[in-house]
Point group: C2
């Protein structure tokens, strides 16, 4: 891995990324301050009985969508899916979208195929909701309703506070649809306090373990259930800021082939939650250890993974399905510290712009 | 990457894998011989109006499910999704499955969480269909209907003929639901002939380009639309047989972060189809080239990717949505040749068993 090229060197590489990681509790508090808009969107989805949730987004937004599948499944017990944008936008397939709520996720509100998907979905009868950090952007103009992320400007290319804010919006929306809005709102408030409390310690812990990974070229990041979104998001941070070929896998998918690629120089990051997915994540961690892979354990049940070389636990929120708001943070901080250790600037990775206009 | 350890050396590493790659046309022909069962399943889905398709499987079966999303979307214009097994099986969430067709995909018919998901889905009112190479296995006993893959025993750990047979079953099922069964059946028959015709040349071409990748540790495999399934399946073959950290990405997702990890030692395999997804795949290929990555171009429109170092085209079938039956084969053959070049036995990768019982 060579250092980033062609960018003017920053006097303090990663300063924006780190600042924004620390701004996450404040960003979460601002989501709660806009709960009215979320409650209105929930009421409309219920009134229209639009109970098939179609989530669309790319990058971190798509990772948050993986969380949405569980938030809507566990709270109102509605089916949610990451919909196939290509089917609608590129293949021009008219689908029957009556009975669907479409949630377009885009930090910038400009992602072209997400905007176009939402426009077509609205014309096809779906309830359309934009979740974006720029409520003046095209996505918000095109959707019937907008839920602003209110994360304030995010300047580092790698998303952090807009990701956790999107998780909170999805959990609150699902909670209000289920008639459990107050419980979720209170849960996010407590998780926000927990996050603020543990952030300084997590920063020290993540920085301390980053150095041994300076020469790592490949990693798997394992999670299941609500934490699969976390696995995807941590892998993306490692790819874009540290140039590690980090691949997210469910605990079970690891055993269906990828485990064969592991060796002592191919570490595995496993996110363990104190819920019904703990046993399969433990099983996956043992398989990884049996291949000689170094194991980093994180999540609310990090201590339950035997043989981990490094442990980065986070507190358990209530309700537990909010754990991804906390469990992504050790991965963000690890990526920040490791990028610096590798001489890279996580604020401005080579080859990326903050607003991605790829179709 | 070190050679596989702890396995008795095979006199002819990869012989089974290569034999089964060449058995794919025969396996496809056997799917067509069982078209009656597929037609009956389609008629039942239509009669019950069970038009939300929920696909479940792991590994290659899950990759085939990615194809199902497009087969059902493009042919009957029904919404299909890879459902969240964890939500039902681990989190024990009762969902309303009336109006759903559940398709359980498992070569062995034994994958525990797929079997349990299908059992619960049937109890919850879904039409349940097992697609398996062992119609005497648990999955077939538990589902209302079974479509046998009829691929004959698959002995190499890495799936090949059961993968393309599953693609054919899904395309035929979607075709019969759409009232276009004869067209799809004829299309698969022609694609089978095309595959048989090009296989010897593809084997020579893939073997010739494998050697320069002997020291490759990381790769991205890019596809979009119908070919995203191919990208996932080729990446899985490279992971399990060559121990390469190969990650599948949609053409658009590459730009949303992962592109930053590329460099001249991090090659990209791109699958280009002569359809509406060609432009985004071309754009992704240019981004990869701009980062200095070596490009392998495959698919029906391989010749349309500028700057490719290696080109492995396949013929264009009719209808075009059948292209994944052909386009996966260069990846299988490349994985076979590269595994041998690296001193690995693709028939029996270290750490894997043919039947995966991980939960």
């Amino acid at each position: 891995v060579s250092p980033a090229e062609n960018e003017p060197p920053s006097p303090d590489p990663g300063a924006r990324f780190l600042t924004e990681i620390h701004e996450q509790p404040a960003a979460l508090a601002r989501v709660l301050a806009h709960e009215d808009e979320i409650e209105r969107a929930a009421a409309l989805a219920v009134a229209r009985d639009a109970r098939l949730i179609r989530l669309v987004g790319h990058g971190s937004s798509d990772n948050a969508a993986s969380y949405g599948i569980y938030a809507f499944g566990l709270l109102p017990r509605w089916t949610a899916m990451r919909d196939a944008i290509t089917l609608t936008v590129h293949y021009d397939t008219p689908l029957d979208l009556s009975g669907s709520t479409v949630i377009g996720l885009s930090q910038s509100g400009q992602t072209p195929d997400v905007v176009e998907y939402v426009a077509r979905a609205r014309a096809a009868g779906a309830l359309t909701i934009a979740v974006t950090n720029d409520p003046t952007a095209e996505l918000a103009r095109i959707a019937e309703l907008t839920i602003p992320l209110c994360a304030e400007p995010e300047l580092a290319v790698a998303a952090t506070k807009t990701y956790v804010s999107t998780l909170a919006v999805l959990a609150l929306l699902a909670g209000h649809i289920a008639g459990r809005g107050a419980e979720l709102s209170e849960g996010i408030r407590r998780a926000t306090d927990q996050l603020a409390e543990v952030l300084p310690g997590l920063e020290r812990a993540a920085a301390a373990i980053a150095l041994p990974f300076s020469y790592t070229g490949r990693m798997f990041v394992i999670g299941r259930g609500v934490e699969f979104a976390t696995a995807r998001e941590i892998a993306l941070k490692l790819l874009e800021t540290c140039r590690i070929a980090a691949e997210p896998l469910t605990a079970t998918d690891l055993a269906h082939g990828p485990v064969a690629a592991l060796d002592p120089l191919f570490p595995v990051w496993a996110i363990a939650s104190r819920d019904a997915t703990l046993a399969p994540v433990q099983e996956a961690a043992s398989r990884a250890r049996a291949m000689g892979a170094t194991l980093v354990a994180s999540g609310t049940a990090a201590a339950e993974l035997e043989g981990a070389g490094y442990v980065l636990p986070v507190p358990t929120p209530t309700p537990q399905l909010l754990s991804p708001i906390l469990s992504v943070v050790p991965g963000q901080l690890f990526a920040w510290a490791l990028a610096r250790a590798r001489g890279l600037d996580p604020d401005a990775p080579h080859g990326l712009a903050k607003v991605t206009l790829a179709r």
